[in-house]
Amino acid sequence: GAGVSQSPRYKVAKRGQDVALRCDPISGHVSLFWYQQALGQGPEFLTYFQNEAQLDKSGLPSDRFFAERPEGSVSTLKIQRTQQEDSAVYLCASSLGQGIGGYTFGSGTRLTVV
């Protein structure tokens, strides 16, 4: 596609509920990243995929967070047993490879845990 597409745009979850956030990167982009952006802050790295391989998941805040990219294109970020502190905007970005040509970000999913 022309850009990075994320869905849903907004998600309200009750505390304890599981959520799944989807990212559809630009076609042909090898690298895919997930970032978490709290209100009024800069994004923070969560995880990185090169094709289908998850090469770095050091930024995932807890074992409730899980990401996958099984066929090297669409990626899903899953959060189990959501907590209030998970409320944030989750941004997906893709690039040709290791920042070549820059990073293109999606519009994000705003998650609110109530």
Partner: protein, 111 residues
């Protein structure tokens, strides 16, 4: 600790004025990014600075990079209302794929 510090964090200015946003970073990375974010929107790439002394300009915005001082600046010339947004700088971590972000500078330009 890897850190990117922007200042100021908030800037309110009149149209027609000039101002500079500063970005100090901590690694030996030679790649620095500037992004713009409008409220409720995603991050729009403005500049990628790849080497010491790099200077890039787009319209009223000009970005520069001094790798020895680990400092990048974003200069706004004759500001207009449409430039109101939050501006982020980010450095590329030595691993070569992870961006470390500043907290952002919220810029409000009054007509």
């Amino acid at each position: 600790e890897l850190k990117v510090e922007q200042n100021p964090l908030f800037l309110s200015m009149q149209e027609g004025k000039n101002y500079t946003i500063y970005c100090n970073y901590s690694t030996t990375s030679d790649r620095l990014y500037w992004y713009r974010q409008d409220p409720g929107k995603s991050l729009e790439s403005l500049f990628v600075l790849l080497s010491n002394g790099a200077v890039k300009q787009e319209g009223r915005l000009m970005a520069s990079l001094d790798t020895k001082a680990r400092l990048s600046t974003l200069h706004i010339t004759a500001a207009v209302h449409d430039l109101s947004a939050t501006y982020f700088c980010a450095e590329l971590r030595d691993s070569n794929y992870q961006l470390i972000w500043g907290a952002g500078t919220k810029l409000i330009i009054k007509p």
